[in-house]
């Protein structure tokens, strides 16, 4: 309970978001359903679920300590890796190699746990990259080797390496961000990314105009991009003094960067789903899919955000 008073500003912001989410979940959503039963609200419901995980996760994280959040983020990496491996083709012979791919998660988060940045940042790009082929040569077969290997490396790089930067934000020293610590920075980033995602989707849905990438996505339009960017910058500017050491100008630039790189993440992952002939499985089924739809932008923004903050506040 002690930590509850350590970052009072973070607790205030989380509480405000919980109040907002209660409103959306229990008042806005039923009203929308009542107004137009044909409205496809699955995507909204899926976003609401993810927001609950984020807000309650961070609330518990503030209370019991950020190590809990580290485990939660490791678990989200696991879900993302599992979904990615489940929707991509793989070779029968590589079944056990994929087991080694899962093992990268506990190791990667162990480096974060002990705060060893040097190992954290080279472990997957260097060591996993060099040595994961070994079990594949021993257990697998030569036909299709390079193809299977490249796919697996791309999956581990995005679902584990990129995403785990979110975890390293948590263990940044308090001196870097006296207002809300590393946990505040992680919360700030996740909120910006999710706000941007939702705003681009909603603005794009309201105004049907020219699409950013017509070949790939029908839901992301130029007005969606600009609306999302505006709202993200606004939220960044509002939250920055509560949660981060950023000045107003820095916060505005960060909002712009999150909006643009978030869109890049969305586009790349949409291209992957198109290639796999696999559109929005997460909303199609009531089950466990759909985590990739929620984290595609984070994969791109998390490393960038980490490097910006450590560059500006060394």
């Amino acid at each position: 309970m002690f930590n509850l008073f350590k970052y009072p500003q973070l607790v205030t912001v989380i509480s405000a978001f919980i109040a907002l989410l209660l409103f959306v979940h229990f008042i806005l959503l039923p009203v929308l359903e009542r107004m137009d039963p044909d409205l496809e609200l699955d995507k909204l419901a899926s976003r609401i679920r993810f927001w609950w995980v984020i807000l309650l996760g961070f609330l518990v994280g503030v209370i019991v300590g950020d190590k809990f959040l580290l485990i939660l983020i490791a678990f989200i990496c696991f879900l993302a890796l599992k979904e990615f491996l489940s929707i991509t083709p793989s070779r029968r012979a590589d079944r056990r190699v994929l087991f080694f791919a899962y093992l990268t998660i506990p190791l990667q988060f162990y480096w974060i746990w002990i705060g060893w940045y040097g190992m954290f940042v080279v472990f997957i790009p260097v060591y996993v990259f060099l040595f994961l082929p070994l079990p594949m040569t021993l257990l697998g077969e030569p036909a299709g080797f390079l193809r299977a290997l490249s796919l697996l490396i791309w999956i581990v790089m995005t679902a584990v390496f990129s995403l785990s930067h979110l975890g390293f934000l948590l263990v940044l020293p308090d001196s870097l961000n006296p207002a809300a610590g590393g946990i505040g920075l992680a919360f700030f980033l996740i909120v910006l990314v999710q706000v941007n995602d939702a705003a681009q989707f909603i603005f794009g849905g309201i105004t049907k105009d020219r699409k950013v990438i017509p070949k790939l996505s029908a839901s992301r339009t130029w007005s969606g991009l600009i609306g999302g960017l505006g709202l993200t910058v606004l939220v960044a500017w509002l939250l920055a003094p509560w949660l981060t050491p950023f000045s107003s100008i820095e916060a505005i630039w960060l909002g712009v960067l999150v909006a643009i790189t978030g869109l890049i993440g969305y586009i790349v992952f949409t291209a992957i789903k198109r290639d796999l002939d696999f559109e929005d499985r997460g909303t199609m089924t009531p089950g466990h899919g759909g985590i990739l739809n929620r984290i595609d932008s984070l994969v791109y923004t998390a490393p960038l955000f980490y490097h910006i903050i450590t560059y500006l506040y060394p």
Binding site: K82, L85, I87, P89, L98, P286, G287
Partner: protein, 213 residues
Amino acid sequence: MIPLLRVFFFVCIVRPLIMIIIGLNVFDKRRLPLTGPAIIAPNHNSHLDTLTLLSVWPISKIDRVHPVAAADYFLSNPAMAWFSLNVIGIIPIERQKKDPLDDPLATSSEALERGDILIIFPEGSRGLPEIMDSFKSGISRLAERHPDVPIVPVFMHGLGKSLPKGDFVLVPFFCDVFIGEPVYWQGSVEATMAAYKTSMESLAAKCDAPAWE
């Protein structure tokens, strides 16, 4: 005591394992019969099939759901026999008739009369992972005796990748469960099996799984 143990085993061990490590996507869950008598007839890829299917029912219903399993395998030693009979709740079936007068379906038939839900794998054994084998006709022979009891075809994909026959390393993949429309006794064993096979093939076609060669 033993029903409690069964509930504990499913609530504390099986469901967390299946939901967290594997992850289920159940399609057309409303077709799942919640009360018996009924025969659930899934394809068989992995030891996890039975536990996964049992996780689809609400916990309050599983005391009436019984997998029909090979006596020669699951009753082969006392510890496994106790666990299979009391915790998993299997109904043992003799795969090889010792006496030509024996009726291997008698225990299953009695269970249906009690109003239980039976899980019967018509492929008989797990076979090659993620490849459907030929079906044995036991489900039809039960349907012949109980023409009002529905056979519910269930197609599962993914567990053969997670834990195939002959391997002990569990690698997590999503499991998709497709539940079909019930099939009833069609007047002959062949016709019933054909109807079941057609239904399974259409369920398998709905599952566009990524290549696994």
